[in-house]
């Protein structure tokens, strides 16, 4: 076997070792993630909490700001996705209602009427 072939084999073995170390042994750790990286069920529960809080606080602007933590999508789309997941996974009727109420409220939300928070 030529030197170049041995060299390439060494490179490949080293690369395999590097990938194994980087992906398995010591992968990049995201310890400071944002809510938008949450798993779908956690995201849905997050939206459900926003819906519950909205029923207690009746502050749509606050609900929108909380939903904005889940990404740059339109708030009503975030709620629609959560509602879809909740329906698929047979959430309790009351939880579905809360999501539905939040979604309906967001349809009437006008960001231009928002009072800036100091």
């Amino acid at each position: 076997m030529s030197r170049w072939a041995k060299f390439l084999i060494a490179v490949l073995l080293g690369a395999a070792a590097g990938l194994f170390y980087g992906w398995v042994v010591n992968p990049v750790e995201y310890v400071d993630i944002a809510p938008e990286s949450l798993r779908e069920d956690y995201k849905t529960d997050y939206v459900l909490m926003v819906g519950e809080a909205y029923q207690a606080e009746h502050d749509l602007g606050l609900a929108v700001r909380r939903l904005a933590m889940l990404g740059s999508s339109v708030p009503s789309d975030i709620v629609a996705n959560a509602l879809s997941y909740a329906l698929q996974h047979e959430y309790a009727y009351q939880d579905l209602s809360l999501l539905q109420l939040l979604g309906e409220a967001l349809l009437t939300w006008n960001p231009n009427l928002e009072v800036p928070t100091p």
Binding site: G14, G18, I33, L38, R39, E40, L48, A53
Partner: protein, 295 residues
């Protein structure tokens, strides 16, 4: 001979190069992506937002088990204490009153299982499939402790000399036991007043411990101390390492203070720095320990 030695080196060079390429690819070009992360991996400020949201949702649902399940996802060491401390931070940082209140209520509920009084409010709700149905929702009513000006009375301090520096947690325990368990909103009454003489703590403090009827410490209670020409406010729970119901205030010797709970309770008058006598005859400042218990 020379060529053989070169052979081993170029193989090592190749392996090192390969490892470097592998690490660059796995750490930089295509790192592991956490798209399905759990809440405990959230950044600290997002965790705070998450807890505040759990508390706000709890105010609506009154579902303590659900709130506990949600908070458990954050994997905090001491859930109740973490929520109480966040309530204190939120208060100190001027967060909205609703957020502070929700966190405080949830912290109390987590601490001793107290659930806010709920009332059923029926509402008509429409499902996504446009079927109409009614669902029962609950709205918590937070009862504040009523102001009790009639309860104002002068404290009758009892001098207790403890020069051997007792443990603070022991000295804060009330001598008597509250046996009643009234509804939320009952006033806090002064249960015990004593002077702590501790050579390890020679600053004249007013130490307050506030407990509910079950003798559990109560955080987020605002106290006001008034003296001739001034007043100051302080809160329980800012030193959770001592007790969630603990708060203290540094007195100026010679000044006479009155202390009361802002949201009702007994007023303690004529509090002033008192001296203690050590074994060698020297004098030092003692601290007043006031224990309030919800009746």
């Amino acid at each position: 001979m020379k060529n053989d030695r070169r052979g081993s080196w170029y193989l090592l060079t190749g392996a090192v190069l390969g490892v470097a390429l592998g690490l660059i690819y796995s750490w930089v070009i295509s790192p592991v992506e956490y798209v399905d992360a759990p809440p405990y991996a959230l950044r600290a400020d997002f965790k705070d937002e998450y807890r505040a949201l759990v508390a706000a949702a709890y105010l609506y649902s009154n579902d303590l088990l659900r709130a506990e399940d949600r908070l458990a996802q954050l994997k905090d060491d001491e859930t109740a204490q973490t929520v109480a401390m966040q309530a204190q931070r939120a208060l100190a940082e001027g967060h909205p009153e609703g957020e502070v209140s929700a966190l405080g209520i949830l912290a109390m509920a987590l601490g001793d299982g107290v659930v806010p009084v709920a009332s059923s409010v029926p509402s008509t709700q429409k499902m996504i499939n446009t079927t109409t149905a009614s669902a029962s929702t609950s709205t918590p009513i937070i009862q504040q402790p009523p102001a009790s000006p009639d309860l104002t009375q002068q404290a009758s301090p009892t001098l207790v000399s403890t020069p051997s520096a007792p443990q603070l947690t022991n000295t804060l325990k009330p001598a008597s036991t509250a046996t009643s368990t009234p509804a939320q909103g009952a006033a806090f009454l002064l249960q015990e007043t004593k002077l702590l003489c501790n050579l390890d703590q020679t600053q004249p403090l007013i130490m307050v411990e506030i407990q509910d009827a079950a003798e559990q410490p109560v955080p987020s209670i605002e106290l006001v101390v008034i003296w001739d020409g001034g007043e100051d406010h302080f809160f329980t729970g800012l030193k959770p390492e001592l007790s969630l119901g603990y708060a203290d205030f540094l007195m100026t010797p010679g000044v006479v203070y009155s202390l009361r709970l802002v949201d009702g309770g007994q007023t303690v008058n004529d509090l002033t720095a008192a001296e203690c006598l050590s074994d060698d005859g020297s004098r030092y400042w003692g601290s007043w320990i006031l224990t309030f218990i919800q009746t």
